[in-house]
């Protein structure tokens, strides 16, 4: 490897350039999930991707993770092309990712033990993380013995313990009830603020996106959607998520971004209605 000091291309934790993802449909046609996506996420930035249903949000995240490779275009992470799984990223899934046959502590330490860390060491690190997420008394439980919120916390600890430079989050809190969700968002922000990690956060909830992010990226209506807008969120940090929705800056930003997102949402809705009409 060249030791050349190419500072510029390494600037971005995640960089998608002209990424298109298409799938062949059973009918022999081509389905475009996303088209010509350009996305740049600097280290330490919190970027949310918001879009209507079916706009390919998860496809973008999966490409950044290396779980999907783009049909056209290039995915880079810290200047290096991503081939296979992106080793500098952790992924928080919308669904429950815990292995049901492992205890909480074994789940949390999984990333470390698989990397060859000794079990004792991995467990002590996992204990530290369990304490951080408030689960230190649940280390020996199995996932099914935990509540949804506790499972999410376990998943957070599991994703963070490997100390990734990038966190990819696919609507991680959407399955939680509203109160638990706000608490989790607050905790996430606290963890993130100390960490300097880049976050790519997917949500369909604009409130959540604005409250958490440095930047909100809006995707157009699918299929074959692309980035239609990008908004800088300059609400000062640290933010108090419980009161942020009354903040005048928040309200102004929300109005502005919603004005754009609304168009895409209604497009999606109309397409869905038209398709339903075709079927009927």
């Amino acid at each position: 490897m060249m030791p050349a000091a190419q500072a510029d291309p390494k600037k971005y934790a995640v960089e998608l350039t002209g990424c298109t993802k298409q799938f062949p449909t059973p009918g022999g046609e081509t389905y475009f999930a996303v088209r010509d996506i350009n996305l740049k996420v600097e280290p330490g930035r919190f970027v949310s991707i918001v879009g209507p249903t079916g706009s390919g949000k998860s496809t973008i995240l999966n490409m950044a993770a290396g779980l999907l490779s783009p049909s056209v275009g290039e995915v880079k992470s810290f200047g290096e092309a991503v081939s296979g799984v992106n080793r500098r990223a952790s992924y928080m899934f919308q669904q429950d990712p815990l292995l049901p046959w492992k205890t909480v502590i074994d789940n949390v330490s999984l990333g470390l033990t698989m990397a060859g860390v000794s079990k004792a060491e991995a467990h002590s690190e996992a204990r530290r993380w369990l304490e951080k997420v408030g689960l230190k008394n649940f280390a020996d439980r199995y996932p099914h013995q935990l509540s949804g919120g506790m499972r999410k916390r376990t998943a957070v600890a599991q994703a963070w313990i490997v100390n990734p430079d990038i966190l990819l989050m696919d609507e991680p809190f959407s399955a939680l009830d509203v109160q638990t969700r706000q608490i989790m968002e607050n905790e996430l922000l606290q963890l993130w603020q100390e960490s300097g990690k880049a976050v790519v956060f997917i949500t369909h909830d604009l409130d959540e996106a604005i409250a958490l992010s440095d930047e909100v990226v809006i995707l157009g209506a699918g299929p074959g959607s692309t980035v239609v807008g990008s908004y800088e969120i300059d609400i000062p940090r640290p933010r108090d998520l419980l009161d942020i929705r009354d903040d005048p800056q928040f309200v102004a930003l929300h109005r502005e971004i919603w004005g754009r997102l609304k168009i895409e949402v209604s497009k999606t809705y109309e397409t869905a209605m038209a398709e339903e009409g075709e079927v009927a």
Binding site: A65, W101, K102, T103, H144
Partner: protein, 282 residues
């Protein structure tokens, strides 16, 4: 005597997998009372049988007296006559189970991971599975002789397919998210197998363990029945050959008890290995 009792036991513990048995809500009978009722039922059925044979309503030749059957059982057990036969049958069943399960697991994993092989072999596996296995017994007798290996081969064909199909399904039905998550956490292909695929398939295999263990024993006994020089199936066939219905019933009874004990052990093992699973609520 514990027949009816332990049968019920196995059934109810299969229903509420894991955890100490709790007493159920209102209107329920205590376990002790239930046990007593089961004993009474057993006594009533056996008593009615005994009585109808003694009064000549039922022909003793076809339905020997229960007391005679238990006497024969006692004779077989106390004289030690049945134990070598049981031992042979168990050897055959255990070997059939181990070899069948190992082969089923291996092929299941390979086919689940290699799509090409699965599509290639699928029709052949379906064909063999469609074959009524009993028709293989004569050919196995010719190939492997009267000894235990013809029975092992026969039991193998029964166990293999159950374990194979369950493994295949178990590996294929692994939650995509679990796989992706493990990969994102840095799992190699080998680690994926160890941490995700094997445990996931094990749940499927264990849920079929009762059936495959039962089939291993069935395979051994049926194989012996069709041609052997030892084993419980052979002992039953011998008794039948001399119109000793008491012996046939005694053999049946002993087999039944043995299978129940094995089933109990399998239950224990399953409960231990699948302790991470939530208790199934109906």
């Amino acid at each position: 005597m514990t027949l009816v009792g332990s049968k019920k036991n196995g059934l109810s513990s299969a229903l509420d997998a894991g955890g100490p048995r709790r007493r159920r809500g209102r209107g329920d009978i205590s376990p002790l009372a239930m046990r007593t009722a089961q004993l009474i039922l057993t006594a009533a059925v056996l008593g009615a049988w005994e009585l109808s044979v003694r009064t000549g309503i039922v022909d003793e030749f076809f339905f020997p007296l229960p007391s005679d059957i238990f006497q024969t059982v006692w004779l077989w057990v106390s004289s030690g006559f049945v134990f070598p036969h049981l031992w042979i049958t168990m050897q055959e069943a255990i070997l059939a189970f181990l070899v069948g399960a190992a082969a089923g697991l291996l092929l299941g994993f390979v086919l689940a991971r290699v799509r090409f092989l699965e599509r290639l072999l699928d029709p052949f596996l379906q064909m063999f599975n469609a074959l009524p296995r009993v028709v293989l017994a004569p050919i196995f007798l010719l190939w492997f002789g009267l000894g235990i290996w013809s029975k092992v081969a026969f039991g193998f064909t029964l166990v293999f397919f159950i374990v194979f199909f369950n493994t295949l399904e178990g590996v294929k039905s692994v939650d995509r998210v679990l796989v992706d998550n493990a990969r994102m956490l840095g799992a190699s292909e080998k680690q994926l197998l160890r941490h995700v695929f094997i445990p996931s398939a094990l749940t499927w295999i264990f849920s079929s363990l009762h059936i495959s263990v039962g089939f291993a024993i069935t395979g051994a006994v049926v194989g012996e029945y069709l041609g052997a020089s030892a084993g419980v199936g052979y002992a039953i066939a011998q008794a039948q050959g001399v119109f000793d219905t008491k012996g046939v019933f005694a053999g049946m009874f002993i087999l039944m008890i043995v299978v129940l004990i094995i089933d109990l052990l399998v239950n224990r093992l399953e409960r231990h290995l699948l302790r991470w699973r939530p208790a199934q609520s109906s």
